[in-house]
Subunit: 381 residues, 4 copies
């Protein structure tokens, strides 16, 4: 496979550019029989959409998903599911002059080196956060597939922005409140302080970093294909495909460096009649396999590279130092808009592993949400 596909059995292929005609995705290997329509995908896209508040970019995108294939009579068919969002609110004028003065922190120049100058540089092209629109379309399908078949639930939220960290909250509170404010932080008091930090940074022409935590509940034990397709390996790979991610950790994460085996080991025990680790320093994954406990993964997002402050860079034509000012509409922080993206990417990987392990079958025949189509009754055994 070239680089724009991920997964072995639930395979997602990304296409489209920031300022091209569309952003799209093809899912190959989604089991047949999943009830699906645009209404299942649009809400998650809406949560990702910019232009929602002062915290995020002011670009206005309608972002209506269209399913082009793979769905018939309201169900997935087992054939590839192609989906697109057409790009509408595009203004590429400000980008052309950046060819000579590549923006610090962006991939502009390195992409030009790699693709010999042929890459679509408008709006960052394939390196724009807009590409994650495709991740969310695929993720919405994966999320529904996991929920309907296994009851698995993926919950991400903003854990920290700069110095402000959300308190530990029970899962119910996280589920209920993470999308209740535009910081995507279920701790409303912390959210309010985060807002101040973001607005302050934005006001000074700057941007801030952020940390997103993702929990996955009701993960069957034994998912993961060691040694190189371990569950944490594949999650990390997918999460690092989101632009601006610089670090990934599971469970106790980097805290393990300062820990001891006697503290960090999770003993097995009986919880609700199931044999699981009674503590969860492992973050739900041991030896590359899911343990049956919730997966806990944290993702570090750098401050957006596009800032209003003037920055030093090299003019790569004249080879002299120059100042660049990035205009246009940009996010002062990534985490809040990345929350549905993280959920999507995590769900894609879990759906793939659940299909690989046979935990989700290639044809769905049962489940409370599942109704068989009329036309199928004659021949289905």
């Amino acid at each position: 496979m070239a680089g724009n596909s991920i997964g072995e059995r639930f395979v997602v292929t990304s296409f489209g550019e920031s300022h091209g005609r569309c952003v799209g995705v093809v899912i190959d290997g989604c089991p047949a029989g999943l009830p699906l329509s645009e209404e299942d995908v649009q809400p998650l896209l809406d949560l990702r959409r910019p232009g929602q508040s002062l915290v995020a970019s002011q670009r206005r995108e309608e972002d209506r998903v269209e399913i082009l294939s793979g769905v018939f009579n309201g169900f997935t068919t087992g054939a590839p599911i192609a989906m697109v969002v057409w790009n509408k609110d595009v203004d590429s004028r400000s980008y052309k002059r950046l060819l000579e003065t590549p923006r610090p922190g962006h991939a502009d120049y390195f992409a030009r080196v790699k693709y010999g100058g042929f890459n679509d540089w408008r709006g960052g092209g394939r390196f724009s956060g807009r590409i994650t629109t495709g991740f969310v379309m695929a993720g919405a399908v994966a999320i529904k597939l996991l929920r309907v078949t296994l009851g698995t639930e993926v919950l991400a939220y903003v854990k920290r922005i700069d110095g402000v960290e959300a308190r530990e909250l029970p899962v119910d509170a996280i589920r209920a409140k993470r999308y209740s404010n535009d910081l995507r932080c279920p701790d409303e008091e912390a959210a309010e302080r985060m807002r101040q930090v973001v607005l302050e940074a934005r006001g000074s022409g700057d941007s801030v970093g952020s940390l997103v935590e993702c929990l996955v509940l009701n993960v069957p034990p034994g998912l993961g294909e060691p040694v190189f397709s371990s569950l944490d390996s594949d999650l990390a790979r997918a999460l690092l495909s989101i632009p601006a991610v610089k670090g990934i950790e599971f469970g106790a994460g980097f805290g393990v460096v300062n820990s001891r085996g006697s503290l960090n080991n999770d003993p097995l025990g009986l919880v609700d009649g199931r044999v699981v680790p009674v503590t969860n320093n492992a973050g739900g994954i041991v030896g590359g396999l899911s343990t049956g406990r919730e997966i806990v993964v944290r993702v570090a997002f750098k401050p957006p590279a596009s800032i209003a402050l003037p920055q030093r860079t090299l003019n790569v034509r004249t080879m002299s130092e120059e100042e660049v000012v990035v205009t246009g509409r940009h996010d002062p922080v990534i985490g809040p808009r990345a929350v549905p993206v993280v959920e999507s990417v995590v769900a894609m990987v879990l759906a793939d592993h659940a299909v690989r392990a046979g935990v989700i079958p290639p044809v769905l025949r049962t489940g409370k949400d599942l109704v068989l189509p009329d036309s199928g009754e004659a021949t289905r055994a």
Copy 2:
């Protein structure tokens, strides 16, 4: 990868259904810097289109390709190239009753078994020859890539229909005349007799089988990745993905069964200063590697399964025998319309192997058709 992708470095992913919204394709891994527009793709699509003569189906499809991504300023960018043809002339009414009485020779019933009745059965869905529209879109890109970079040329034509076989013709005649008649046979006299056979079969409500031969000229030696991605292995895999293919042979093909080593071995010699086999019983491939001689591969197409004659089948609801009459517009022979499809599929495989072998680089910088885009001059080394 799930089943709808092929290739390792020039990766083609197919999507869409016969009577769905569109048929489409994504190419991931096409080198950057190839001049490309819809005008490069449309002509080959036009050659595949039905409704062109009495020989082929009367379905009218406009089949205008749209490139959705991966092309910028007239060149490929190195990003995925998504292309679609929107379905327009669709009439699915006749298919629903076939759910109970699956058509002999079609995949209807086996698809229903595999996908639990959820598959899109309209017009055969994913099992329709219409899916090859996507193959042709991808193939047109591969054909241009091979021609511009290596001078490789792919020439297919109808070799035989029922008892009528085209004479051996020089390559120049094949190149010049294979698309000059709607039989896609460069031997015009044979073409005329083939036409009579086809019209006679059509007149009696029947269909006929056909044989397509494909030559590939100017293939660099050493393409192929033994043992399991041998060049002939990958060509055979791709060709058998075309609906209705039942056999593949290279060079002397099945004739080798009745041959002797002393006759069949191709001795090496000097031809135009190159060390190549002086005969070509091998069909251009030995040990899974291209030899530098033209590739010769033949593909057997069964008679189209859809015929006007009444046929016996099983009613899978009542489990009693029944007669089925397939209405609708269908081709009486596959070979002529398959000629551009065979060329496309062969080119896809060769493009993939040329990229894998490094014979085609990831960025095209030279060559007579290649002009660098304005915007790239500043930074390209």
Copy 3:
């Protein structure tokens, strides 16, 4: 994947050279819980081994399989299964002079071009038929897996050598007699005439072509992953990875070219209570999916390229024409020794597709041959 692996879920990786230390194979993805030992693999290897009669090469190889990993307490563990056969009876002296005068019909020269002269040319290296020893090791595991879980049976035999063709025989006769003579032909009278043809060719320093037919019984319907991993696509790819194969056909095969739809279409009907095609011109595969009928595939083997007769070739150092005489021990016909290889390769593909389809689960827990290991009782649910 590079070229030496095949399969998506039951993945076979080949390694080793004809005159290197060993020939080996790794199977990744074999379900856990299959009873397995060297005794399951050795018999098929023995059937492939040369030196068994005048018909085949006189090279003496002990060819004892050693399982290096992936089996514990008599069962597969789900971990990669590595197996090797150590090379012993190796005499490479005759090959060095062939570097200057490449043998007609062999890959010697093209391999040197591809690998820059670094390839191991001794005994043909990776291009030797000896590499199929690895295919047989993997195939023996696949054959057992298919038999134990699905009752699927793979039966190949020599159908034709030069002008002599075996009569149509019932499956029981094929099963009982195909390995009863060293021609691997269940029609004993034809076998005797084949022997004369082979001995006559051998006597004159020549070699002959051959045709192997393979039947697969008890194939569940719906195997195959259209469009590019169709069952026939993947079978053809794998079969063309066997050295010296020049053609593949399914069911009526190339005969379809001269057929009509009304004759070639297989109507559905009830056979033993199952809905299957009542005729089998399709050879058990329609639309890339298994139909539930036996798979019928035929494989054309060219006459072995190594013959005793002097042959013309090019001296690639002096660039002048020269005569080459191939000494050493070689087979006068490939089909008989290829019978277990064809069975192996076909089984590998079917095992992969059965695992992909979920028809064979990742852990085997049931079946008459299956006994659970002692140590597992405590924790297995």
Copy 4:
């Protein structure tokens, strides 16, 4: 691919178990023409070997690599390179009773769930750190390939153990001293304090966590295949395949959460005549592409799960709580022994990407270490 392979063009397949016959690896896709022998692999294996000091496990393993295929006349041939280390010093007695009382922090129980009790549990089987012996064998080849062709150098070292962190040191000091003590820490003063921490933990029957930093020098710009095979994505995937890794970060890593765009952005500039970022908060990777600056990645290792202290766990037969004491020979800290493993895994990924990008060709013909073999002169162009 199933889970035990990694890479697209330089593909590494792992096999073997901790207490089985061997641990091994197959590399498929290594370019032809690399000078290679066991002497290139053994030194890195020796650096990984246990039994070297009080800091590490007392298990004595000779760990002599044997190259089984893919090397001829002292050069790689382009064919798969199989390598094994035979297991010798194996004592499995202590593991059987752990079936009932799975060790806290180990994968024992989850592996049993996944593989239905069929997995080889001796010494942890596939989940043992011993499997990384195979990573090192493959890594030694990748390291040499990168060095010879690109001058790329991979340098890992222990950055932190518990509260002790190594000072920032110049690259020359890291290169010279990282293997000079058994802590694998180039800051000798910190190394001494780390030793005290480790010995203290060991003395109390406990274990400690550790942090390994890896630098990669002379990385060509533009490596990485966005969006899903980004260079950081693939590095993270590979690194998380090493047992006990719980976090990965690049460059400023998790520090970005508390940073600002104006501080974190790396401006472009001219360094030694090359256009590169003048600071390196990105850790050498932006937008998934290498920037031409050194790659900086840090890996968090948990404290080894095997500790001498008695631990609470569940007896999964009686389903009652029980105490387990893990006997046997175990490492009190992972980082020091993981240093060559991290280098190996990073090199595998970079070699793969360099081959994918065409930066390393499929056949090596030049370079100071490269001498052409005698036998190749006649035919190489």
